[in-house]
Symmetry: C2
Subunit: 416 residues, 2 copies
Amino acid sequence: MGEQKHIVLTSHPPKGDLRPPEVVWGAPDAKTRGPVIGSNNTPQQRNVIGVHSGAYGLYRALAIAAGTLDPVHKPDLTNTSPTDQIGPFPQWAQPEKIVSIDPYGHMVAQVFAEQIASGLDIRPTIAITKARIHLPELREAISAGRLTPDNAILSPSGEASVTKAAIEPVWYLPGIATRLGVDEGELRRTLFEYTGGMFPELVTRGDLKVFLPPIGNISIYILGDLEAFWDPDRPVACRVHDECNGSDVFGSDICTCRPYLIHGIEECVKSAQAGGAGLIVYNRKEGRALGEVTKFLVYNARKRNPLGDTAAAYFERTECVAGVQDMRFQDLMPDVFNWLGITRIDRFVSMSDMKHDALVAQGIEIGERVPIPDELIPPDARVEMDAKKAAGYFIDETVSKPTDLTEAQGRDLDDY
Amino acid sequence: MGEQKHIVLTSHPPKGDLRPPEVVWGAPDAKTRGPVIGSNNTPQQRNVIGVHSGAYGLYRALAIAAGTLDPVHKPDLTNTSPTDQIGPFPQWAQPEKIVSIDPYGHMVAQVFAEQIASGLDIRPTIAITKARIHLPELREAISAGRLTPDNAILSPSGEASVTKAAIEPVWYLPGIATRLGVDEGELRRTLFEYTGGMFPELVTRGDLKVFLPPIGNISIYILGDLEAFWDPDRPVACRVHDECNGSDVFGSDICTCRPYLIHGIEECVKSAQAGGAGLIVYNRKEGRALGEVTKFLVYNARKRNPLGDTAAAYFERTECVAGVQDMRFQDLMPDVFNWLGITRIDRFVSMSDMKHDALVAQGIEIGERVPIPDELIPPDARVEMDAKKAAGYFIDETVSKPTDLTEAQGRDLDDY
């Protein structure tokens, strides 16, 4: 396709009539805020840097190159609208409250119906649907008596109905800069330079304030009645979980990720059964956002440490390999809570002070903090737990700080 | 950091002494092939487009912007080397056999020791480690009598030891173009244009043949003895699995993804117990590489179809929303088999003709094809199964093609 046409450059703003609609971030309503347009079909309409679908934009481009996808395909959004109503909330009209999500991302077909009819290619950046989840651990929790089926929230066979949403990153660069406490120009320049020159528009197009970064999306799972999020008299339980494919999918026993996720889901079931709701936020931040290759390199360095794989060397080994102990930015994580209009979490299923402090900094009240029960910690994961506790991860009164950080020894590489 | 220094542009080749080492893809040995250098610490050394860690390169840039990561940090790779020896294999020296992986990615510290000592910042793009996986479904398979513990491959408590690897995408653009049957210039231009202008180097730097795309990595899990991969007399079972977060992690019952993955792992255990090996290849291609937002939009369109959620409309609904039924490129998938030196799969746990044909096209022999047992298919996933069977996904003789594609009806949105 397209052999004849010349390459469309985006490094300079279009002139005159071609000017796309302006995005007024944090405006009081959708109409004033304006649509985010990241489609390539009509380049002159684009008012962002990057494309939709995060990293999957690369696959879309590959499909076009291979000739299997019509480059000017426009999605038919019939019947795709959200299964549940979320927002608008006052937080949506406060520019500093949400900087990495388009709060109107799920309702574009509704709030921008006029513009879409007039030919603007506006696409949802959020999708909301329903699902029934079927987890073997919930069946085990029922047998173990930790959970009781009620045929509404939880079936005797361990099935639970949820509302779930997929949320693509939509970064408002001035807001991201403020949130991270850096200068916007410096942020743009660093994002450009340290991604190997990805998107020169980051430095040449100061007029484009919105960036669709090629990273993974957020997934959220809601158990119980959404309304409980907005009713101070009904309990809300929540687990903010950062992806760990090795544990979440394959059940690797070197960490507590899946056990803690499951514990979070159990707490959500209980909260829903108590007339409230439960929320799981799943962020694609594999290996503390260092990626899985770095994570596996660190595993080897830990296991081969002549002093043994102990909590004492846990973070130090990570920093040697990665240059930093943790590359996750919890600073942006609270945005999804502000999008959901949540101002209070009664039971927060996490030991992470980073997560807790980031939420509190955004004005989200946290009641109880719920650590993972000891019996759910796999033996080889003791090293991680001790390291985290010693590093000041939250511990409730019933758990004592480990005094000897060499006590828990991880499995040796020869023991697999 | 860096307020004073000017922005390093990469849109034109460096001059003279600054010229980085050349990459001779598919050369007979590592020394001749040369290292892939994607680090930003020493821009003049770079010989690729993009940076390491795929999409996580964005987080690295954010960490630098936030001042938490030293931009010139060099990883200390002490004790990070692979736990298992893989290669070199003849396939590594055939440019057309592997086009999306750096076959030397796990052994850079070894094969490029000289260059690293001389100051080149060469990083691993593959990491190999060991793990013990602990899946509740394996415990259930033991109780159900489908699996028998042997205290070696599988413990009575359902634990299995594995060798696993994380593999970052390293695209040799001329090879990718050949594999997809398109002109390299057209591929580069399309990748540039349809990602919203990501990496102008794709079009301005024809001299840079290697691209590190910001997409997810591949994970592989190996059960049993690696040596079996290279011994024609020992059985090899394999499941090539494309990510489905909703099912793989949360057990959503609308599809067969996790059940099929678990079935694949069970087959791998059996193959390992029979003196062979098993391989799970896990690709980050959420929602057929359409991304999770599109996937959820399609779920709603299917569930709200006035004719009901039936196999008849399954693919059609996807195409309306996404413009294509499937955006996965199985064409590149076989690279990991050529990297592993695998030429034969005795039991291929997949119904996908796309996957089968892609492997066979790369000269990988496939014995038996193993469909998912009917009892493992969740009720709401019948629609997907009928649609796939009708679309010509592999069916063994014992399974008949569905005659009535409206027979299986998915759960209505009101039934959640």
